[in-house]
């Protein structure tokens, strides 16, 4: 039995808190003090009449008339009833624990409106019945996960790409920017690409049997038939194929997209669920380019707002919005996280573009090499925070909430 580490060195004091990090596509939950979330559930719910389905198993089962919906918009919770259902599912059905017994830390995006923050406190105390609660900024947690109190957090997730400057663990709100040009936006580009190539995306669950075919040959698969599946469910299932494609095949060129250079790169094969397979060359790169140049690469038949900014422009804008004294420090402590940042070549591209944008400053990007640290940085930081001895004075207690009301969150969770 090892002795407890000296508090002065480690600074930890476990109070067995729970941490939930709700993202646009995944909600992570687990116990504070652990290094990865124990439970990762999709932030979606299925709705069929009055019945609500949450959790992987139910969401992916083909049910007639079940719509798949998201309770999130713009990175913030918009449908609280459903969000509580997902949280409750994660805690009681997957973590087998009672929220009543544990303090709860929840992360929020830096641009979360005050009304939603108050709602979060209400939900936590009144519906989940937690003894103590804290609402931490996701970007601050991500910076803590990389061991930095001062950082420029670049989070490219599924629905939102955001840039947040953090000074001593506090967000600079006026210099925080976010855009929609993230993972889901690439998905739309990919489906447009497949459409233009006349490739039909058949989700996995519809395949009964398939035969191997040569590259470019029509698929030979037997399909199952389902009745009454909703378009949103099919869309949800197709998104899984697109995610798979992104993870295995997509990449980012180290320089602004150039067809000649993209064609030099070796092509990569991708096999669709129905067995159809194809080599992808320049298409691997052109579909990710909207992350950096949204205006130059709009979706077919649509235009992009003239003020739209790619991720590098967001970073530049954010740095320039900060006081000049802080800039050098921020640029030297860039933390790159989020699932979409795992795209091959993404870090190099950002590094090169930032070096061009700030030639006089020393740029250093810290991007965790471990993919789970990249995807769950917000949760890991929350886990660190909630197990620190010095943090326990920050919790909003139940009694405090009853005395002050939900506005206590503005005072406490800065």
């Amino acid at each position: 039995m090892a002795n407890a580490p000296a508090p002065a060195v480690y600074g930890g004091d476990e109070i067995s808190a729970l941490v939930i990090d709700p993202g646009s596509s995944w909600t992570r939950a687990g116990f504070a003090g652990e290094d990865t979330p124990k439970v990762v559930v999709p932030t979606f719910y299925g709705k069929s009449g009055d019945r609500i389905y949450v959790g992987d198993n139910d969401l992916h089962s083909p049910r007639p008339g079940m719509e798949i919906l998201s309770p999130m918009s713009d990175g913030c919770v918009s449908d609280w009833d459903m969000t509580v259902k997902i949280w409750d599912y994660a805690l009681s059905k997957r973590l087998y624990t009672e929220a009543k017994e544990h303090p709860l830390l929840i992360t929020e995006p830096s641009w979360n409106p005050a009304k939603d923050r108050e709602k979060a406190v209400e939900v936590a105390f009144e519906e989940l019945g937690v003894p103590a609660f804290y609402l931490a900024k996701e970007a601050v947690c991500s910076a803590f996960a990389c061991g930095k109190p001062t950082a420029l957090v670049v989070d490219v997730g599924s629905a939102v790409a955001s840039v947040t400057p953090i000074i001593d663990g506090l967000v600079l709100k006026k210099a925080t920017f976010h855009s929609e040009f993230a993972g889901d936006y690439i998905n739309s580009h990919l489906s447009a690409l497949f459409k233009s190539k006349n490739i039909t995306l058949t989700p996995h669950f519809m395949i009964a049997r398939k035969m191997p075919v040569e590259i470019g040959q029509p698929p030979q698969a037997t399909l199952k038939t389902f009745d009454g599946l909703t378009e949103s469910f099919l869309e949800f299932q197709r998104a899984r194929i697109l995610n798979e494609f992104k993870e295995s095949t997509s990449g980012v060129l180290e320089q602004p997209y150039n067809e000649v250079i993209a064609n030099i790169r070796p092509a990569r094969p991708f096999e669709f669920p129905d067995g159809y397979n194809l080599n992808f060359g320049a298409d691997r790169y052109v579909t990710t380019e909207p992350l950096f140049q949204p205006q130059a690469y709009p979706l077919p038949d649509s235009t992009v707002d003239a003020n739209a900014q790619g991720i590098t422009e967001l970073i530049t804008a954010s740095v320039n919005a900060c006081d000049v004294d802080a800039r050098a420090n921020l640029v030297n402590n860039i933390v790159l996280i989020g699932g979409t940042s795992l795209l091959q070549g993404f870090t190099e591209r950002i590094n090169i573009e930032l070096n061009q944008a700030f030639p006089g400053m020393k740029i250093r990007i810290q991007a965790p090499g471990n993919s789970s640290e990249r995807k769950y940085a917000g949760w890991i930081g929350g886990s660190i925070l909630a197990s620190l001895g010095t943090f326990h004075q920050m919790w909003i207690g139940k009694k405090e909430f009853e005395e002050v009301g939900p506005t206590v969150v503005e005072k406490r969770c800065k």
Binding site: D13, P131, V324, P359, G360, H392, Q393, E400, K414
Partner: protein
Amino acid sequence: MSSADIRDMLDLPSQVPAASRPPPAKRIKTDGKKLDGIHRELHNLLGENTPPVTVMQSKFKEKPNWMQKPSPWVWTKFKNPARGDDLELYHWVRGAPSNDEYPFAKFNKPVDVPTFSKEEYDKCLADTAWTSRETEYLFDLCREYDLRWLVVQDRYDYEPEENEPPSIRTLEDLKERYYFCCRKLMELRRDASGADWTPRDLELYNAMNFNKDKEIMRKQYLERLLSRSPAEIAEEERLILEYRRLQESSKKLVQDREELLRLLESPQTANTFAQYQSPQGLSQLAGNILASDKNRRRKGAPEAAAQGGQVARAVPGTPNGGAPPQAVTPQQAVQNGVHGTKQTPQPGRSAAAQAAATPAVSKAELAQSVTNKKVAKRVPPGQENLYGISYHDKLVQGVYLRSTKISTLKPTVQTKVASILAELGIAPKLAMPTAKVCDRYEALQQAINLLIETKKQVDKLDHEVKVSTSGNAVQESDA
């Protein structure tokens, strides 16, 4: 044999009482512990030294003691005194729960931000640009964010009342206001208490002297520094390198110049002539000259030629000083005579020597006659070659090859010279090293050396000209 034994033999009484005699040498004790793998004799040789460290490796991990009682950990509740409320949280504690204060509470350290009353505000903090409400708002923010100015400015969102002007505050405005108020409050409170400043207070007071204009200017400079274009940065680096190079070369130039000046400057007579006015002084001078002359000869002819003038100048100085002609000692006269004969090819020197020698009286005649004899024996000029005669200042003993006497240059220079010689089609080794050939060869070598030196200087100057013109061009293009 000790002194005690000698005393014993000579029947002297022993001085030292027996008790204070040094005890017989101790036998080296060995501890009884038997060491594995070392013979006892070998071990004894180690003496009292500690044996070298042997690494003992146990083969397996120690067996865990399953029967041991587990250390007791208790799930216990605690209160954090750093909190305002009495929220109770639970954590695991080893052993029995104690009533000690929560160990992390001591880290709760707020920053000391002063507060002020209405009277204090009216008395000294009033400002047309600020209202008391806004000042208080600022102080609250400072307290809340522990004077992290960047955050304070970020969260500064003051909603002015209806009759107030809208406030747009920069970071410098906020800092200036805060530090101004703090200083005023310190002054006010000191005046009220009548006590003197403590050094700590004074230091704090001076530290809070915030110069807004300077700060704004500093930030502007910083901004300019950070927003340099890559071309500007490259240019700057180039200039810095150039500057370093120039500095280096100017240092070298100064050194060279100093050396040159030292060489050019004739040795000055630092002392007055007065000391040479007495007979003793003169004889001493003559001795010095003789000695230095000998040294010079040993060093080699060219140097002597260069310094000949010095002697010539120094010697006539003496008669001018008013010393009687008799004062020239015979020794000096002889010496002068020798000069005259041996150094005939150096007219300046010999003339001077002669001038000095002429006043010398009968005692110097001996030397004079020797010179005359040598001159008489001399072959008429221009006919030396005919007879194969040559004159030498000094002959080296023994036989040697003439080619070995050709002076060598520094290795680096030598290679350059050699390459130029090769260009001219002259072999580095002379095929026929007659005296004449050797002389010419040496002269050629010297000339080449001079040429190389000159070329180097020209290149250097050329480069400097180029640099300064390019610098001018850049400046002009900037302008």
